[in-house]
Amino acid sequence: MAAAALGCGGGWRRAWRRGLGGLVPVPIPIPIPALVHVAVPVPACRPPRVVARNAGGGAVPAGKSGLAPWVPVVGLEIHAQISSNSKLFSGSQVQFAAPPNSLVSFFDASLPGTLPVLNRRCVEAAVMTGLALNCSINKKSLFDRKHYFYADLPAGYQITQQRVPIAVNGSLSYSLCIDNKMSQMVTKTVRIKQIQLEQDSGKSLHDDSRSQTLVDLNRAGVGLMEVVMEPDMCCGEEAAAAVRELQLILQTLGSSQAIMAEGQLRVDANVSVHHPGEPYGVRTEVKNINSIRFLAKAIDYEIQRQIEELENGGTILNETRAFDSKLGCTVPMRDKEGMQDYRFMPEPNLPPLILYDTKSLPANVNHQQVVNIDWIHERLPDLPSAKRAKLVELFGILPEHSFTLVNEDGLTEFFENVLKQTQMKPKKVIGWILNDLLSYLKQHSCTVKESPVSSVLLADLLNLLEKKEISASAAKQVFEELWKGEGKTPLEIVKEKQLQLIEDREELEQICQAVIDEHEKEVMAIKAGNQKIVNKLIGLVQRATQGRSNPVLVKQILEKKLSE
């Protein structure tokens, strides 16, 4: 009879059947008939017009109708995949880009008779996140089933927390700069409605040419935190800043890796527009946004589209739209969930989730069995806002500089590593980090980690500068050389290119004299009282020395010579 297990038809489907003997199903996607694909006509995309900047909170100025201005309203629903070894309700491993269907337990495949067992780590991650977002943590939360049929949802329902989520009523402060000026930062707050624990679905891959859908259940059942933000934002940039701050918080906590490109952070935006004093307009939901940059673009496009639609006498449909990153616009989505009644029901196989604080913690309890909110609270790491404040306090840098440091992955660490190896003052170092390093990185679309100029190399370079062995402009040349990543040290480059400062005063005096001799007109002007022209001469000397002269010394020599 046991042998029959392998051969008997109708047991496991195709790919599964061979997996019967062991625990791990054969990693082949399950072919099933394709869904009916409704061809969505791609609308002629308007050129994505820039929405009037309203980061300051103002309304978008009136359109061509010339009536009252429009107020855009943006709310976000964010799904963050919990960073955990195993899934929310099963022991299967969580791993990105594993072979298809290789991380699927019997429960994940919803084999009949299997039951969910809550993963403590996921609960802790949600509590941690809730605390970091100033939420009140519900000591008793409940699980519900949300029903809909879809190929990558094997049970026909998702276990979520519809009625009583684990955390509610929080807030998230984020900053953004106005008009792209780093010096004009504003801090805003968005209310967090709730955080709920829920299962992720699997993935459907639609193979239209062969008219089939392939299902990969590796992701099915992975723990998600759904963070619901109230509609407190009013443009793409605000939403982008809020999401970036959330992402930093999640990464700091380690509760989610929150990498959007890997789908660990998925953002849906609810967008509507209305006139001031009037009720909110009909909203659309924009999905399929896979980077923060696109989030801002998608929202701004959608705001503009709605305004134009309304001003042209049209109406806004309560619909789901997808952002097309290539076209830069949103298009109506075939709505698999449109008008769907999810038929929510309490999940009968999971008792209420009870959390404790130190006060309510029962005596004689097995600490492995309970989650203590206070205990987690005490162990929260420094959040990004605290990190920024510390940077400002510790190094005397400007708040907006601390912002850039923290917001760029790995930049703070880079900065601190440079500081450790140089005598240069932090205030000067930050300039090199933000102006030189960062602009090179941006220019080459590199991350800090990928930078060919390591913190050691930069520190060496800055030390040369600090010891006045090279001038600032020479240092920039060295940096440019370092960026090539040819393995040379700053000192080697300096020597090779002969970028050392000219120490010999006589030599400098000769060069200065030559410049004076060649620029009679300028000399006349200076002598007539226009001291500013001196700077031009200094520049010329610099050029003549290829940046190897000390500008202070040059100025001294020039002034002395001119007054002779």
Binding site: M1, A2, A4, A5, C8, G9, G10, G11, W12, R13, W16, G19, L20, I30, I32, P33, A34, L35, V36, F106, A109, S110, L111, P112, G113, T114, L115, P116, V117, L118, R145, H147, F149, A151, P154, A155, G156, Y157, T213, V215, D341, Y342, R343, F344, M345, P348, N349, L350, P351
Partner: protein, 510 residues
């Protein structure tokens, strides 16, 4: 030997009077000769003999695993059995071979029990007759007993054998018939609204529904998760206690099981009921209760009275709402639980492949019978946003009231409730199928369902034979997790009533 109780046969195995293999073979051959009963969907002959052989080795070494080692048992076909087809008597799961064992099955095997096969049921355990499965109805062994044949002389030709055989009740009818016809020494059923106790009553065996949460449901294909409990069917109360002891306790795979460690118990050989208070809930004298069962019930109350127990009438006022409340809660959970059967990962898949949706629809239409589809439809209706408050939430509130009725009664000093298990004795199949499944379930679950609503332990004890020579059982309902007290009372009662053994004649059709 096959008519012995589990404890007796266990002793015989230990003393070497019989070997596990002999015992297994005898059971297997009896299963064959009683095939007409249709009690088994799958007979796992090969694995059973292999398990028996293993058991035999242990006995030879003098190291049996315990009282269950070598004991042939049967399991309802809605429990997952690794490598053995598990169908729920549905086209949907025909040919489905699970890759894992239900916790209860694993526990039985770990203690050396020999799994003979999987027993018949109503499709997905939805029914009260064991008549609505895709493998056909189960026949009550008492149909072929001398007791029944003597008392029910056919009135005319049209009432000959084929029309006379009676149903087992359900939905665990296969398990009840298997124990009653001596093909196994114990069987697992499941009990959601009475599915273990009802067939136990009709087949004259002990049927125990333990407290919700005492036994793991992991691997039991669910009907109503919040009410399902694995049930135990045995020939006597002591055997039920043995099986309970081997199954009960926390299971990390089922979050609704109790955390405390369960201590298996033995029942006193001379139970005493004189200090107990027995409650007789008046609402259980329900419309349709046959006069002979009423009289059996009242005699039983007298037995307790005469033994010095306090017997008082009590009221469970919300009992009458139980049926309609159960209907809403049951169908809602069914709608949800059945959603997974979409033909993708396992089970039946329709050939219709125009689109995923059309494949779903065809698969589910082909895979489920009318009863299951009907419950899915009603359940989804009750769960619709506009209906949820009016139906589901209300039903949950009524469920709370029903549970509170019990809390009040037990809080007032009553130890055990005594009620009938069924309204009447088993009816002939031809009569039974005149009514539809829903009407029948409504009538048949009425006395057993409330215990599921409240999660309480309850047991059917075979009590007497009806005028037609068929078994009649009474039900005891106990306090939560007070199985020991419940079984002690049941054992005392069993000793008093001396229910006759079935005189099974040749099982053959007309």
């Amino acid at each position: 030997m096959l008519r012995a109780s589990l404890r007796q046969v266990s002793a015989a195995l230990k003393e070497g009077q019989v070997t596990p293999t002999e015992l297994c073979q005898r059971c297997l051959s009896l299963i064959k000769s009683t095939k007409l009963l249709n009690a088994y969907i799958t007979v796992a002959e090969e694995t059973a003999l292999k398990q028996a052989e293993e058991s035999e080795k242990r006995y030879r070494r003098g190291q049996p695993l315990g009282i269950l080692d070598g004991i042939p048992i049967a399991v309802k076909d809605n429990f997952n059995t690794a490598g053995i087809e598990t169908t729920c008597a549905s086209n949907m799961l025909k040919g489905y071979i699970p890759p894992y064992n239900a916790t209860v099955v694993q526990k039985l095997q770990d203690q050396g029990a020999v799994l003979l096969g999987k027993t018949n049921l109503d499709e997905f355990a939805m029914g009260s007759g064991s008549t609505d499965g895709v493998f056909g109805p189960v026949r009550n062994p008492w149909s072929y007993s001398r007791q029944y044949k003597e008392k029910s002389v056919p009135k005319s030709d049209s009432e000959r054998e084929e029309f006379k055989w009676v149903i087992t009740g359900g939905s665990s009818g296969g398990s009840a018939a298997a124990v009653s016809s001596f093909t196994c020494f114990a069987a697992l059923g499941s009990d959601t609204g009475g599915s273990t106790r009802n067939p136990a009553a009709h087949c004259g065996v002990v049927g125990l529904k333990p407290t919700y949460g005492l036994i793991s449901r992991h691997g039991l294909i669910p009907l109503v998760n919040s009410m399902d409990v694995p049930g135990i069917l045995t020939r006597c109360v002591d055997d039920a206690a043995v099986v309970l002891g081997s199954l009960a306790g926390h299971d990390p795979k089922d979050s609704t099981t109790i955390q405390d460690v369960f201590q298996p118990f033995e029942l006193p050989s001379l139970p005493d009921v004189s200090k107990l208070c027995i409650g007789i809930p008046k609402e259980y004298n329900a419309p349709g209760l046959s006069s002979e069962i009423l009289s059996v019930w009242s005699k039983a109350a007298d037995l307790f009275k005469n033994a010095g127990a306090k017997v008082i009438e009590v009221s469970l006022p919300h009992t009458r709402y139980s049926i309609v409340c159960y209907h809403v809660l049951c169908t809602a959970e069914v709608a949800s639980n059945m959603a997974r059967f979409d033909g993708l990962e396992y089970g039946h898949r329709s050939d219709v492949n125009k689109s995923t949706e059309s494949m779903y629809a065809a698969t589910r239409r082909e895979g489920f019978n009318d009863v299951v589809r009907g419950r899915i439809l009603s359940g989804n209706y009750f769960l619709l946003k506009q209906n949820y408050e009016n139906y589901f939430v209300k039903a949950q509130k009524v469920r709370r009231l029903i549970a509170n009725d019990f809390v009040k009664v037990f809080g007032s000093g009553v130890d055990i409730l005594l009620t009938p298990t069924t309204l009447k004795d088993a009816v002939p199949y031809m009569e039974f199928i005149k009514e539809d499944n829903r009407t029948r379930s409504t009538q048949d679950d009425i006395l057993t369902q409330a215990a599921n609503m409240a999660g309480l332990p309850a047991i059917n004890v075979p009590t007497a034979l009806s005028e037609r020579g068929l078994p009649v059982g009474l039900q005891f309902i106990g306090r939560s997790f007070q199985e020991k007290q419940l079984l002690t009372v049941a054992k005392w009662f069993e000793k008093q009533v001396k229910f006759p053994m079935i005189q099974l004649e040749e099982v053959k059709g007309a």
